[in-house]
Point group: C2
């Protein structure tokens, strides 16, 4: 697997699995009715942010990440990022590779930490992955995530110092 900068052409292969993940409504705090163009504007962040794709051997795009300053001004020294792995390819280390790559990028860019603002408590595979890479749960907003099956569950803020 390689991770490379995404191009505008990649959006065509990102959108189907990103859309599937958004519509499921169990991980991202995105509008479930998000359209293609709106999602592209949201996901394909511009420089100084960065968008990457993970490519399997053979060139198939199996996941994507974006990364950027979490806030402006006096908060701009902390990065944030989001990850989407095609559900067909989950459980094979794609997410781990994407997170590790984004941490390398953030460190190289001079960020002092990586913050995730909204990790659903029920997304236990993501929480476990982030914790295994050294992130800690800074706090949990009670009932901050409305899960389609589990109801209102906690929404974690997670942090990794760089």
């Amino acid at each position: 697997m390689i991770i490379r900068d995404a191009t505008t052409v990649d959006w065509r292969v990102i959108w189907p699995f990103l859309h599937q993940i958004v519509v499921a409504g169990d991980t991202f705090t995105y509008d479930l009715g998000l359209g293609n163009a709106e999602a592209e504007a949201l996901w394909m962040v511009r420089a100084p942010g960065r968008v990457v794709v993970a490519e399997a051997h053979g060139g198939e795009v199996v996941g994507t990440a974006n990364m950027y300053a979490n806030r402006a001004g006096p908060g701009a020294h902390i990065a944030s990022a989001s990850y989407m792995v095609d559900p067909v390819h989950q459980g094979r280390g794609v997410g781990r590779a994407l997170v590790s790559d984004s941490l390398r990028w953030a460190r190289a860019q001079g960020f002092q930490g990586m913050q995730f603002n909204a990790v659903a408590q029920t997304n236990s595979s993501a929480v476990r992955l982030y914790e295994s890479l050294g992130f800690t749960i800074v706090g949990t907003v009670p009932g901050g995530f409305r899960h389609p099956v589990d109801g209102d569950v906690g929404l974690h803020v997670m942090f990794y110092p760089l």
Copy 2:
């Protein structure tokens, strides 16, 4: 003091003190070089969000607040808000009136809680005010706020259940 919905005309009196607060760089994670038009687009949120001003007796605008859903989709049941009080009029209960009004609004709109994503630890008057109204510090991102004098200080996530 009364609190009323802001109109586009109010921006002309909001901008000078909002600009002063942003440039000071000790409370908001906004770009310190934020221009007038950019700030207006950022602050004057549209419906279903809401912008208000606090008016002293005589009609002088002494503060402003905006309020909105903190996130989309499965996070859209939690509100957020920001407050700016003209430094000349601070310490007279304007902030308290604005926060109380935004909590009433959020409750009336059916939100399940109010979350502040980024409260600088050093902004102790704001932290004390929010705590006195029932907010709790859910967590603190270590060094998440680059204070112009104190250096990197914690950035609180605060929450009030509705």
